[in-house]
């Protein structure tokens, strides 16, 4: 019983198309036969989940855009019309708004998987960097998208973040005026944010395409972090990982559905149900949860310029990660010290998120500074040092040997 997909050269139609545009042949090779390490665990599901979320966001977004009006006098009301009058409008909106949160949750887990298993290391440096570009594009898209409903938090969040650029010496204020299209966040700003919010997801699609091409050049990493050397190390993507991805998708959809149908406003801010009022600042201006750790880093320093530099550095530092890590070993399974550092980083990011949700006073300032300090220490100092000084555990001979050999593969805890 052949495990491959559409039978290669059986159908005349298939042969006709393939001779002119080898579409079927490519899909067959990249999706069905594609040799994948046999030992991937569930942390490898998150890449395909991210791709699916991108599609969901684009589809719901396009349909929402058919009913949304990007004018500051009508935006808020148009969203209410969607919620109340458009057939299933409430569903489309809740899917899109909570889909953004799900998308970030998936991508953050995907990134941390990469950090743990060394997926950013040779020869996957470009793959990783393309991923960081995707993250940046997602952040820009999400920031602009949140402005569109034109609630209090939309307006004031936009005001705070666009004002950051005034920290740039000499030209800062001119840049902010250029961004705003005026002397404050207003209708010109909203209109251009809508245009860019519609555009960027398609740029993300293009970069995801490159990301996948880079991935397929050397294939996936795996929990052991060692290269696959022969057919004993890999299995065809179909049916093994297609069915595993579908199972993972179903589990994810259950969580997504629980939020959309039973707690759709849990992750949001009630203030955004108040129409934007330039004359009234809300008592607390807080971004959506997925920006909170960065918000904490931004506010950790008393100097505005320094805070802005730290904010941008915290993401740009990820670009050079493949060169910061000096360890010859990929997977943290075999790196006992690095493993501690990794979990410390996870705790730090959560702590920074907690700090970001609160006003910068008292204990929040202290924790915010410690967290910011550790974040940069981890990447700039610890990773280069630990890579050199650490004694990694011995690696198994091959993936196949580790999986098919002893009942407990080397290094398994």
């Amino acid at each position: 019983m052949a495990a491959s997909g559409p039978g290669a050269s059986n159908s005349r139609i298939v042969r006709w198309i393939d001779y002119r545009l080898p579409f079927v042949k490519i899909v067959n090779h990249e999706l069905y036969e594609y040799p994948t390490p046999r030992n991937l665990n569930y942390w490898w599901n998150f890449g395909s989940l991210a791709g699916i979320m991108l599609v969901i966001m684009i589809v719901t977004g396009v349909v929402l855009a058919m009913n949304y009006t990007p004018n500051s006098d009508m935006a808020f009301d148009s969203v209410q019309r969607i919620m109340r009058d458009v057939n299933y409008g409430w569903l489309l909106r809740y899917l899109h708004m909570n889909g953004a949160s799900m998308f970030f949750m998936i991508v953050y887990i995907h990134i941390f998987r990469g950090l743990y298993y060394g997926s950013y290391k040779y020869p996957r440096e470009l793959l990783w960097m393309l991923g960081v570009i995707i993250l940046l594009l997602m952040m820009a898209t999400a920031f602009m998208g949140y402005v569109l409903p034109w609630g209090q938090m939309s307006y004031w969040g936009a005001t705070v973040i666009t004002n950051l650029f005034s920290a740039i010496p000499v030209v800062g204020n001119k840049i902010v005026t250029l961004l705003w299209g005026g002397y404050t966040v207003g209708n010109p700003t909203l209109n251009r944010f809508f245009s860019l919010h519609y555009l960027l997801p398609f740029v993300i699609v293009a970069v995801v395409g490159l990301h996948l091409v880079a991935l397929h050049t050397h294939g996936s990493n795996n929990p052991l972090g060692i290269d696959h050397k022969g057919p004993g190390d890999t299995i065809p993507f179909h049916p093994y990982y297609t069915v595993k991805d579908m199972f993972g998708l179903a589990v994810f959809l259950l969580i997504y559905a629980a939020i959309v149908f039973y707690a759709p406003n849990f992750l949001g801010d009630p203030q955004n149900y108040i129409p934007a009022n330039p004359l009234q600042t809300p008592p607390d201006i807080v971004p959506e949860w997925y920006f909170l750790p960065f918000y904490a880093i931004l506010r950790s320093m008393p100097s505005k310029l320094f805070g802005v530099l730290l904010l941008f550095s915290s993401i740009l530092i990820l670009f050079v990660l493949p060169w910061l890590d000096t360890s010859p070993v990929r997977s943290a399974r075999f790196r006992p010290i690095y493993r501690w550092m990794f979990w410390l980083l996870v705790i730090t990011v959560f702590a920074l998120g907690w700090v970001g949700a609160h006003p910068p006073e008292g204990i929040f300032v202290t924790v915010g500074r410690i967290g910011t300090f550790y974040y940069f220490l981890h990447f700039l100092v610890l990773m280069p040092l630990v890579g050199k000084l650490e004694r990694p555990k011995p690696l198994p001979l091959s993936i196949g040997a580790a999986v098919l050999g002893a009942a407990a593969p080397a290094g398994r805890h």
């Binding site: 929990p223 299995i235 579908m246």
Partner: protein, 269 residues
């Protein structure tokens, strides 16, 4: 621009904490918000039609003097149990501005079911002028726009008490246990039992009226809640079945592999 950012940052620093998603929106000195029983809470919650109609009556007879409900149209009232004719009758009691007519004039006409429910004031400035500078907020989304939702609305309406000794109440404000800062510009709207004579005969105590109008306002903030719950039930049921099926399929497909026979690949290490 820099000054504006510093001002905004200073305001953020200076004021009460608000955490995303937590019920920490009240200032420290507030009475904690009591949790009421609502027919629409929980996974299987629905709106109590009788309570909605009573709540609408409270809104119409008490709140609509100052507060608008701009995102509702009269036709939406068919969802709370009124017939189309009843809705036409309710609408006809209101006058709305229409036009310009063929002479170029705006004119008044009785409202139709397709019209949005008109508010008491022509615009915000007129409202402020009538209310001593304060703007009574629109109530269409009030339950979504406040931490605590319906509990908050109920708490405000039942939270008017005499100011405690030593509390300095600014002129033109009233003491309220739940309102952040305790000084609210709205005079107590529900002043006496029996203030509204319910069409269905239910005794209209202050807690009853507060509960009914909070239920009505919860519906006004989200009329599609019941459809959301219903659809959610079906979707989740479908997904649970799908998960079971796909897990079995996954096990079956992977079972043939040497080294994985009988042993499931564990998530994580």
């Amino acid at each position: 621009m820099a000054k504006r950012f510093v001002a905004a940052a200073a305001m953020v620093i200076g004021l009460a904490c608000g955490a995303v998603g937590t019920a920490w929106g009240q200032a420290e000195e507030s009475t904690p918000l009591a949790h009421q029983q609502w027919s629409f809470q929980g996974v299987f919650g629905t709106y109590d039609r009788a309570a909605l109609q009573r709540g609408f009556q409270v809104y119409k007879e008490v709140c609509s003097a100052c507060h608008q409900l701009k995102h509702l149209s009269f036709r939406d009232l068919t969802q709370i149990g009124y017939t189309e004719d009843q809705v036409k009758g309710i609408a006809a009691q209101y006058q709305v501005t229409d036009g310009p007519n063929d002479q170029g004039q705006m004119y008044q006409r009785p409202a139709r079911p397709s019209d949005p429910i008109p508010g008491p004031f022509a615009n915000d400035e007129a409202a402020r002028a009538a209310m001593d500078g304060a703007l009574p907020p629109d109530l269409s989304l009030i339950v979504h726009a406040r931490e605590g939702g319906p509990d908050y609305v109920y708490g405000i309406l039942t939270g008017f008490k005499p100011a405690p000794k030593g509390f300095k109440l600014a002129p033109g404000t009233y003491y309220n246990q739940i309102f952040p800062g305790h000084q609210i510009k709205m005079p107590p709207p529900l002043t006496a039992d029996g203030q509204v004579k319910y069409a269905d005969g239910t005794p209209s105590t202050i807690p009853q009226m507060a509960h009914d109008v909070a239920t009505f306002l919860a519906w006004a903030s989200e009329p599609t809640l019941e459809e959301r719950h219903r659809t959610g039930f079906r979707v989740i049921l479908f997904l649970v079945i799908a998960i079971g099926l796909l897990y079995a399929a996954k096990r079956k497909v992977w079972s043939g592999l040497h080294g994985h026979g009988g042993e499931e690949a564990q998530p994580g290490e």
